[in-house]
Symmetry: C2
Subunit: 94 residues, 2 copies
DNA sequence: GTAATCTGTAACGCCTCGGGTTACGATCGC
DNA sequence: GCGATCGTAACCCGAGGCGTTACAGATTAC
């Protein structure tokens, strides 16, 4: 279990994709083929990156869809781990 | 993009966790703290592995929650890639 | 043959969440 | 002042995870 709260993938998108290219949220949303609201929600950590969105990012910015989803998994998993103690699970194998 | 359809993580759970331990679906579901229906749906590829379920698996079988979610990502991504051509996305950066 | 167990799954309800549209207030540059 | 940008609230929709109940089929035990 990691110690630090991993950043939303949205922050990485903003700093590694939008800013270097000088793109506004509106422009990027149009290019990705989604609404401005959808992209805004991701950039501000209010939505996760769906498999489809990962593919859109991979096309638009020539990146790896897998890497975006991996970051999303790290983020989701860290938050799910916070509720680990509340789960009633019995050890079934060593 | 991978060539072959990756197996549902459920198949791996069955062959690597349940069968070696001689567990029935009913027993495993009780140990994991979920309904038999929920586990059955996963084993038969009708449901994905949620972050919470990944943690349950990691506790019960002393495995890595991350590995289960990674497999799920591979599976989801492969299926999402099948609809890649339908996405209207503009290249925004090289 | 009969009863118990295990399993998949349909039918329902509940809640979360991604995504779209519309619309508003705030901010910044000209 | 005016236009562009942005975050976000208020809606609607559909998908998906999970629970309970209930049924049918298969397997096993007696």
């Amino acid at each position: 279990m990691r110690m630090h709260n991993p950043p939303h993938p949205g922050e990485i998108i903003k700093s590694l994709c939008l800013e270097p290219a000088g793109l506004t949220v509106t422009e990027a949303a149009e290019g990705l083929g989604v609404s401005r609201k959808t992209l805004s929600a991701i950039l501000n950590g209010r939505s996760g990156i769906s498999p489809e969105m990962a593919i859109r990012l991979s096309i638009a910015f020539n990146t790896s869809a897998e890497s975006w989803l991996s970051q999303q998994v790290q983020y989701d998993l860290w938050h799910a781990e916070q509720g680990r103690k509340a789960l009633k699970v019995i050890k079934l194998a060593a």
